[in-house]
Amino acid sequence: MIGSIALLALHLTARPAHGAPALALERARAPEFRARTVTGEALSLAKLLERGPVLLDFWATWCRPCLAELPELEAIGRKYRASGLTVVGVSEDGPRNFARVRPFASKLGLTFPIVLDEDGRIQQLYQVGALPTTVLIDTAGMVVTVREGYRPGESRELEAAVAKLLAPPASEAAPR
């Protein structure tokens, strides 16, 4: 509680440099990680960012909100895949549930890469305390938004953030 109050005070007294209601996490650099997908392919955040923004989703087979969220992320992934977005599912199933991750993903028709966070290192790197947690990372490797938990309809907010990231800069988009 003392920590929370201190953080709240820090938050209320801090003034973002550019005047927007930007917050520390939104300017944080996403920690680099390397992992293998359930199909055995090597995957690294740095490599994925060369292609475009990355949407990390921490989930588990036993997590009921994840069951509702994952198909919506699949839809976002399919829609923006050609524009460079990569959705990566980070399964936080422990050894008890590893064997069920691939069948579970297959059952939901997920086509994006899924990583088994075997020793919980990625979860620790991103300080994930609740499932699902979604982290959107821009091509500069900066965290754009972190969303803990899921309620139906919230993926639209996420999709808007993805679309904004993938939109050409105003100077390029404006007619000459």
Partner: protein, 516 residues
């Protein structure tokens, strides 16, 4: 012991230097739980308690360092603490990672060793009722690296067991040293082995453990691309000679652990199969797969089986068939046989789940399930659980969910008529995107083992009712708050594959998480 001491000193030194590194990027996460109420009969009804867990991490180039600070206070001023429970320093590049201080890791599938935590799960130590974050971290040194197809991991330090509150500081015991080596073969195959040496706390006993594992897909090796059949198998032994190691003995008298799993993915059909055979392998610092399904539904989640690697064998099969645009059917069959104290006992479960969902953002979706089984480990000879949940999308990004469940069980007794009881559950929740949710839950049980001891003299079992309300909200971009009020049922609960005992609670609880 010396390794852990050096690791501690290095990690603390790195943390102490943290403020100097003004350029470091700092991330903070805080979990605070304030309670007003009571868990046990002998506690005052107006007991207040405050648990806090602050995690701070800083990154400076390839170096990271951080700490965890935990505190627990209560109005009785007993068993309180304020202590740094974790600290670490780490340096990593593309091929190598070295870490001193607290770390988590997994060798193989956890048959010989697993250090882990279940984030945001706060337990109360039985008896003293001091709360603590569940963590079984190692305290020592971890070095791991990859070069081409080869990967290796070396570790040394003291394991933590996650069974007690750090009232007198973090609790670690014994000494572990060893590692894992593996090599990747063509077409996704992998083969490897682990070795560990464990010395007990007093230094009077030493054990050696090792395991070998293979991970491959025979269909991929045969270049058959239409289906997928990944196989994983690991065999571990304790205190065996080099010659004995290769015999793969499965007898009752030989301490061993064998685990195998496979998946078959073929179009809309998916099958997962697992097999286990554990004998005298309860080590304290390992965590072999339990092969018991972890359920998201409340009554099923608590009606589960906790693995005892001292003596257990069994299997788990799960098949799923999905029809895009309609939903899926899932069937799970689980069996665990064990002989604790020389008695042959069985846990068995057959689970059917029918899920109806027309796809993302469908207006209506529902799940129906039935689960039939027995749990002789828990003195239950027959158990039926059935229920379901339905969610309706409403205007303005709102949803309403109704959950119903019922459990009927029959107990095991040596003499007389076996007791029968039922549990019933009703849950109703309303959520609005970006705002939060409000939920009401009602649960009633006639389980004689949970009866109020004051009323136990009456031969008739009195029902216990638990009613509660929970409001969850997102407070800006950085805070999440959950307010609980009512009566919470105690007992077994499982999160992320780990089961633990929850203390019953009656009162109000505020849970606040903040992250920056």
């Amino acid at each position: 012991m010396r390794v852990a001491a050096v690791a501690s000193a290095l990690a603390i030194a790195a943390c102490a230097l943290a403020p100097v590194a003004a350029l470091a990027q700092v991330a903070l996460r805080d979990l605070a739980i304030a309670q007003a109420g009571r868990s046990k009969l002998f506690q005052p009804q107006n007991r207040t308690a405050l648990y806090d867990q602050l995690n701070v991490e800083a990154a400076l180039g390839r170096v990271r360092f951080g700490f965890r600070y935990e505190s627990d206070e209560n109005s009785e001023r007993t068993n309180t603490y304020r202590v740094f429970t974790q600290r670490f320093a780490e340096v990593a590049d593309e091929h190598v990672r070295a870490r001193v201080g607290s770390f988590y890791d997994l060798l193989g599938r956890g048959l010989v060793q697993r250090a882990f935590e279940v984030p945001d799960v706060v337990l109360a130590e039985p008896g003293v009722l001091a709360r603590y974050g569940f963590s079984r971290e190692m305290d020592g040194v971890l070095v791991e690296g990859e070069a081409g197809p080869f990967a290796a991991k070396l570790l040394a330090g003291q394991p933590g067991f996650g069974t007690s509150a750090p009232i007198a500081g973090p609790v670690h015991s014994g000494e572990l040293g060893g590692g894992e080596a593996s090599v990747r073969l063509p077409r996704g195959a992998r083969i490897g082995g682990t070795y560990l040496r464990h010395t007990n706390d007093t230094g009077t006993r030493q054990n050696e453990l090792g395991s070998g594992f293979v991970d491959f897909d025979p269909l991929r090796l045969l270049n058959l691309g239409s289906a997928s059949l990944p196989l994983y198998a690991e065999y571990a032994q304790l205190d065996r000679s080099w010659e004995q190691w290769w015999r793969l003995t499965m007898g009752d008298r030989i301490p061993h652990a064998f685990y195998a799993s496979s998946n078959l993915l073929w179009g809309p059909f998916a099958l997962a199969a697992e097999w286990k055979d554990y004998r005298r392998f309860r080590l304290g610092f390992n965590d072999p797969p339990s092969l018991t399904r972890e359920h998201g539904f409340s009554l099923l989640n608590r009606s589960t089986h906790v693995l005892d690697a001292e003596s257990e064998h069994g299997f788990q099969l799960e098949a799923a068939w999905s029809v895009p645009g309609w939903g899926s059917l899932t069937v799970n069959q689980t069996r665990s046989d064990g002989t604790p104290a020389g008695r042959e006992l069985r846990y068995e479960e057959t689970y059917w789940e029918l899920r109806f969902s027309r796809g993302p953002e469908a207006r209506f979706e529902a799940t129906l399930y039935t689960d039939r089984g027995l749990d002789q480990f828990d003195f239950v000879s027959d158990r039926d659980v059935y229920g379901g949940a339905a969610t309706v999308r409403l205007p303005a990004d709102c949803t309403a969910t109704l959950e119903l469940a019922r459990k009927d069980a029959t107990g095991v007794v040596a003499f007389g008529r076996p007791p029968s009881w039922s549990d019933r559950l009703l849950g109703l929740s309303v959520a609005r995107a970006r705002w939060g949710s409000a939920a009401f839950q009602w649960e009633r049980t006639r389980d004689p083992r949970e009866e109020d001891p004051v009323r136990a003299v009456d031969p008739q079992v009195h029902a216990l009712t638990f009613a509660s309300g929970t409001v969850t909200g997102r407070l800006g971009d950085h805070y999440n708050a959950t307010l609980f009020y009512g009566k919470r049922r105690g007992g077994l609960a499982c999160t992320a594959g780990t089961c633990y005992q929850v203390e019953p609670f009656k009162g109000a609880e505020l849970r606040l998480t903040a992250r920056f």
